[in-house]
């Protein structure tokens, strides 16, 4: 068998067959492959083709510090080593050592692996841009990056990556022969295929850098390299090299990237990413995941809308507080940080902060359309968690929109919508199986009753009718029972007793629930004595809990002051009421 064939067998064993190694012998194939590579050092090389002879015209071999090194032959100088056979032999040996070094590294002998790889790099460093060397060099650098990273030496890894950058940029017009072609050039391979393979190696460099920056907690840089990786993948797609390219995957990653920029308040970039994701879906040929993924991207848009409305109202509030224009708080960014090379339709959603009800309504309607569409895939019975989240998004959209609405009647209607939505959901899902969802829904529902109550009380000042009184009474009852149910979900399953101590993430909601109930009771117009007593009890519960658990204070500081005052004042009021009776 020829050297090349034996080499290819060893490569297959090392990188492909090893994936199926049994659990008890995870490195079986790799050890076998290493032996094969080692044996190939002794194997004869066939006579070189003319093509490779020509390549060795510009690649010279010298000895430095007792070590052999490749260098680029200086123009107008003679070759130090004229023998192609010698140079070829050395090159092939380096290639074999490369795999051997990688195997050491893969099989947890990193020290050994690194020294192998490092000495290869030293031997080829001066000639990294040569067409016979560049692919080997880039692969080597990637391996060294991985090893450095495994020692958590991220800065060093990044330095190596910079060398890879340089190598890549200097090799843009070089013919990057594939690794196996270092043994025998395959004239059937078109340049473009070699180029694509080389590009793919560099794409991995980007990908590794994205992860390294993430480990350094430099999210911006990490996102930048993720974006670069996506860009490089897109280039392959455009270059008709679709071998490695999966449009659904690419679109999904792009949509995910949008969420990063969205949370950074960069709506222009987030919008661009989402639009590219949508566009790329058009290239997905029937895939069983397509309906789910399409619905999923809509949810990214929904979050975009919710966040945009939320930031917009915050901005206006801050501007009002500081008595400046909104632009002085933060300007809308309308130009994305980067643009993927895809032709996009005109945007149907703004990326600027909204200023008034009309603009907010546009965002609201856009998002509602996405919600309804997504819900047709994520139906309740089958996708409970997803469906509930979509309903919560709906509730949040109303919550953000109401900020821009000034008419009380219309505000009331919006809260009524939220209440209907949330309360029907609570009835439809099993508390036992979706406990944390039910808690979220109940709390939000209770808050809606509270705010709606306040609105009705405000309306009552202008328009005192029996109907309003009835409504007020109803909201008080419903609010109380909602928060009571919320608190009950926290009780011990067996004894139904209230816990002595609540977990940190529940302290605020629980105490707030009592706070709301205190307020609800105080607004009741009938049985005043009874209700004020209940109100007092609720405020006392909060004060008692904070006294027993001083660490709870930080979760509820503002409300606590009010509670304390109430526990002082309400007994006096009660006394007054009793005397009046």
């Amino acid at each position: 068998m020829k050297l090349l064939d034996r080499y290819l067998l060893a490569v297959d064993k090392c990188y492909v067959q090893s994936l199926n190694d049994p659990e008890a012998e995870p490195y079986k194939s790799k050890y076998e492959a290493r032996k094969l590579f080692e044996e190939l050092h002794a194997e004869n090389i066939d006579e070189e083709s003319d093509e490779i002879k020509k390549k060795f015209d510009t690649l010279d071999l010298i000895e430095e510090n007792n070590k052999l090194k490749f260098i680029i032959k200086k123009p107008d100088e003679y070759l130090n080593e004229p023998s192609v056979t010698k140079k070829h032999r050395f090159l092939v040996d380096l290639l074999l050592d490369y795999h051997i070094g990688t195997i050491y590294s893969d099989t947890e002998e990193k020290g050994e692996g690194e020294s192998h790889l490092q000495s290869i790099l030293t031997a080829i460093e001066p000639a990294v841009n040569h067409s016979l060397i560049c692919s080997l060099a880039l692969n080597l650098l990637n391996q060294l990056i991985l090893i450095r990273t495994s020692y958590e030496q991220y800065k060093e890894a990044i330095e190596i990556a910079k060398r890879a950058d340089n190598l890549y940029n200097q090799s843009l017009s070089t013919e990057p022969y594939l690794l196996r072609e270092l043994i025998e050039i395959d004239s059937a391979i078109p340049t473009i295929d070699r180029r694509d393979e080389f590009e793919q190696i560099y794409t991995y460099t980007s990908f590794f850098l994205a992860q390294i920056y993430a480990k350094l907690d430099d999210k911006d840089q990490s996102a930048n390299y993720c974006r670069l990786t996506l860009e490089r993948q897109l280039d392959m797609f455009h270059g008709d090299n679709r071998k490695h390219f999966d449009p659904l995957d690419w679109a999904t990653n792009c949509a995910t990237l949008s969420q990063y920029y969205m949370t950074k308040h960069d709506y222009a970039t987030a919008r661009h990413c989402l639009m590219c994701a949508d566009k790329m879906l058009e290239n997905v040929v029937s895939n069983e995941n397509l309906p789910e993924r399409t619905a999923s991207f809509k949810r990214c848009w929904i979050k975009y809308a919710v966040n945009l409305l939320s930031d917009s109202s915050d901005r206006l509030l801050q501007a009002a507080d500081r008595d400046v224009t909104p632009n002085e708080i933060v300007r809308s960014l309308t130009i994305p940080k980067f643009e993927f090379k895809l032709s996009l339709p005109p945007a149907s959603m703004t990326c600027s902060y909204v200023l008034d009800y009309e603009q907010a309504r546009q965002v609201f309607l856009f998002a509602m359309e996405k919600i309804n569409s997504a819900k047709s895939y994520f139906v309740l019975d089958g996708f409970v968690t997803d469906h509930v989240e979509l309903c919560q998004d709906t509730s949040q959209l109303y919550a953000k929109l109401v900020f821009f609405e000034s008419n009380i009647d219309r505000k009331c209607k919006m809260y009524k919508r939220r209440i209907d939505l949330l309360s029907s959901l609570c009835k439809e899902i099993s508390e036992e199986h979706y406990l944390y969802l039910v808690r979220q829904l109940l709390f939000e529902l209770g808050e809606c009753y509270s705010i709606l109550l306040d609105l009705k009380l405000e309306q009552k000042e202008d328009l005192h009718t029996i109907k309003i009184d009835e409504k007020i009474s109803h909201f008080i009852q419903s609010g109380i029972s909602t928060f009571e149910r919320f608190l009950t979900t926290m009780n011990d399953k067996k004894t139904n007793e209230k816990p002595e101590t609540y977990a940190d993430e529940y302290i605020r909601p629980v105490l707030l629930a009592h706070f709301y109930m205190g307020r609800f009771h105080s607004k009741s117009t009938q049985d005043r004595l009874e209700h004020i007593q209940q109100s007092l009890n609720q405020y006392k519960t909060i004060v008692d809990y904070v006294e027993k658990h001083p660490n709870a204070l930080e979760h509820i500081e503002q409300e606590y002051t009010i509670c304390k005052e109430m526990t002082n004042l309400l007994p006096l009021k009660l006394e007054k009421l009793r005397q009046a009776q």
Partner: protein, 391 residues
Amino acid sequence: MAALNSSETVRVIVRCRPMNQREIDLKSQTIITMSTQLNHVMLEHIEQNNEPPKQFTFDAVYPVDSITENIYADSVFPLVESVLEGYNATVFAYGQTGCGKSFTMQGINTPGSLQRGVIPRSFEHIFEASSVAAGTKYLIRASYLEIYNESIRDLLGKDVKATLDLKEYADKGVQVPNLSWHQCTSVVECERLMDKGNKNRATGATLMNKDSSRSHSIFTILTEMCTRSELDGKDHIRAGKLNLVDLAGSERQSKTHAEGERLREATRINLSLSALGNVISALVDSHSKHIPYRDSKLTRLLQDSLGGNTKTLMIAAISPAHDNYEETLSTLRYANRAKNIKNKPHINEDPRDAQMKLLQEEINRLKQELINTGGVTRGGNQLLAFDGTVG
């Protein structure tokens, strides 16, 4: 019992097995030290001695001389008891091959052996309860599934290659419709089912050319208890589920396909571009976002456990030998992350500035009211009667 108790968090324990013969022959050094008082595990890195040992804290740690009987009594017994009371419980077993996971979970299967594993002990616990309970009828059924590459397979089904779906039912929670359930009336029957499933797992691995260490398996025992109430003469049924989850080891350092999974610990560089999505989503740190691919099947299937309604235990198995350093570090980090895998609810709060203002106004009004009608002195809390005398 507080909401702080074990049904709202994952209890994580670590067990270190003794050196095995191969390691002794190779003169391996011990790099693990444990403090059972402080529940610490210390991991040394022999090659880098100027580095301090890495320290991890867990709910309990069991050193090389520990016995499974104690582990069961401390950590597993309360879980199985709660199953018999009609609640759900989940036990996760995690560890690299050869680190003692099987030893802890299966163990030396002789009745009475101190090192009899957690699984046979659980079976025994359940069947013992069913045999002594007077007036309660028990129906005990088991199922066994595998998750590989995000595909679910029934290890006790007729067609082991068929993949099953997950569905979230509004009333029943997350289920795998078409998963087969098999009645068991004894410990032996349960063990036979598990053996059968294990064989199918191995066969499937060979048939489909896959790496069985990369799959998770879930053996579930459903215990339905029917008691006729003396009060109303009606039958009351309680049902408890015990999930025994065998977690896949972390990926080896090779060009393997990476799975997107919340539990997966990530200290290593992912070599496969299929993990790009994970890298990007790890950057998104906020509640109001949507990551557009499915949560892993494992996470969704065990949602009950992660949702706060189930007692959950993770047992991580490690080796003391220095040549397992990487794997041991990986396991300890994984177990460390497991402490936080419960779903934390995000309670949406509406903006409340307006409301707080109203409340403050109310307090002021209340104070004013009480002053005006002589109910309170201006400065203090003494009660002034209407006629001005102090009461």
